[in-house]
């Protein structure tokens, strides 16, 4: 049997995230341009696989079969795989899981993983209306569950009640992430800063969340190259960053199937994390930098717990202690995360993985000293599914 190949993330880039005056395919092209600038040796003919992750392309851009559109606009000619993939907010990290398998098996040499969303419509209400279709439509959406703030607000209330988490601790997450957002000029809220007072005095979105507890919905695209170690060496002189281990787990779609004792326990994330750490042959202690799905401040707090970076229930104290800052125990969301860089669903995972790639190559804007292992995590849907991808400067074997 031929020796299994090793999959690496070579590099990539994002479009500007935000409320964009641009078509979905314009932003995919912007992301490809950024990816090309990041990997100057990369040519269209190097890419033998394409995975485009998008949720809203069908409804918002009338582009149901998105992959051929991307092929045409980017001048690609994939022969191994050419697909659209949708796992909502985890789209492009899911695509990285697929790309890893294809590269390791020898079916593909260099896969373009791209994620893109055109969220904003000519009339703003339509975006919220589309959100009825990203939950379990006939059951939870018909109860009024559209955009996520009400659901996550209940999660926050539950975590506050059970574990004593405070609004000040949640504000520590957004303030830290705004610090990291500095210098990331393509971020949705690029150039803005935030203080604890500013966060606590912001207008209420859904009690207990103020404006800065919630990530924005963004238009945007990202692009990353997942290649074999050999192909990566042809494309760049930078040190390889290996896709070491992944895990993805879903246990329900509708609220009735929620797996935790209460909303404050995300046992399904714990499962996804355990699988990813086992595959990566690492433990949470080994991880130097993390990108966790900070759709809300409370999400980052609970994720740090369930991923094993702190004890269950101690996430609030943990973030307020400075543990997520650049010199802390586990610097988290070092490019500003969803809260500051923004959240075009399908594009977010690759954006996170690219930040980990840059951290492990020693070229991040807010660089964690000697980072050797990094983790990216997405939740998707109404916290229905969890996706974890672990990277390292060394391969598993």
């Amino acid at each position: 049997m031929a020796e299994k190949k090793k999959a690496v993330i070579v590099g990539g880039g994002t479009s500007k995230f935000g409320v964009r005056q641009a078509h979905l395919l314009d932003m995919v092209q912007e992301a490809m341009k950024a990816c090309s600038d990041d990997i100057p040796a990369l040519k269209p003919t190097d890419i033998d696989g394409l995975i485009i992750a998008t949720t809203m392309a069908g409804r918002h851009s009338s582009a149901l079969n998105t992959a051929p559109l991307v092929v045409h606009r980017l001048g690609l000619s994939p022969t191994a795989i050419c697909i659209r993939l949708d796992t909502l907010c985890a789209g492009s990290n899911s695509a990285i899981i697929v790309a890893k398998g294809l590269v390791e098996s020898g079916m593909a040499e260099a896969i373009l993983v791209t994620g893109a969303e055109k969220v904003y419509m000519p009339q703003r209400w339509e975006t919220n209306y589309t959100q009825l279709m990203v939950n379990d439509h006939d059951w939870d959406s018909a109860m009024g569950l559209g955009v996520p703030p009400p659901f996550f607000a209940m999660i926050a209330k539950m975590h506050m009640k059970r574990y004593g988490t405070t609004k000040e601790q949640m504000a520590a997450v957004s303030v830290t992430n705004y610090t990291y957002g500095e210098g990331h000029t393509k971020g949705h809220f690029a150039g803005r800063s935030l203080t604890i007072e500013g966060a606590l005095e912001a207008r209420i979105i859904a009690d207990p969340f103020g404006l800065y507890d919630c990530c924005p919905l963004s238009d945007g695209a990202s692009a990353a190259i997942i290649a074999s170690e050999e192909k990566a060496k042809e494309l760049t002189d930078r040190p390889p960053v290996y896709v070491r281990g992944t895990g993805q787990h879903a246990s329900h779609s509708m609220s009735a199937g929620w797996p935790g004792e209460t909303l404050a326990e995300w046992t399904h994330l714990k499962v996804a994390a355990e699988v990813a750490f086992k595959n990566a042959r690492l433990t949470p202690k080994d991880i130097d930098v993390a990108q966790t799905h900070d759709c809300f401040t409370i999400s980052e707090i609970i994720e740090l717990e369930e991923l094993g970076f702190c004890k269950k229930g101690e996430g609030g104290d943990f973030v307020a202690s400075g543990a997520i800052e650049i010199d802390g125990e586990i610097p988290t969301n070092t490019d500003g995360g969803l809260l500051v860089y923004g959240h075009p669903f399908g594009a977010s995972g690759a954006r996170q993985s690219l930040e980990i790639c840059k951290q492990l190559q020693g070229r991040a804007i807010h660089q964690v000293k000697d980072a050797a292992f990094g983790l990216a995590h997405n939740l998707s849907g109404t916290c229905a599914q969890h996706t974890v991808v672990i990277y390292g400067k060394e391969p598993v074997d």
Binding site: W125, Y129, D138, A142, M143, G144, L145, K157, M158, S255
Partner: protein
Amino acid sequence: MADLEKVDIIGTPALDGTYIAEMDMWPFECQEFNRIYPFYENLRAGKFTTTKCQKCGHIAYPPGVICPKCWSDELEWVELPQKARIVTFTETQAGAPIGFPSPIIMAWLNFGEGAPLKHLLARIINCKEGELKDGDEVKFVVFDVPSHPIEVKKETKICDRVYYAFEPVK
């Protein structure tokens, strides 16, 4: 913007009555479009029901065509408890989907020890903002929602619809 829950409008109220199924906020409840239509017929009779597996006894929610535990398709309809307690709730100031009143009150419900349906996210109606507190008891309630047309041969049939929520026990 029109009152989008107005039941005298047939179609998709947000689109001034034109019906585009892709934009529908409610389920297709009629027999022509799903196999769990008894759920909606039972709703009309004021019953909160789901499917129970005759092989393994598992009670699933939402109801289905096969049992998610053993994949048997021998299922029967059973009634669920209609009362629950509020674990936590939210009165959303922003972001209620169009068609729902703002603020919309949603709650995480617990149906108690041993109940076949443990918990549920539910909308609370017939309740003012500020009225509710954790631990309150709520009960199942059915209400009318907009109908939609379907083409049956050359005729257009109107499918009347209902949905359910919970309201405070006073």
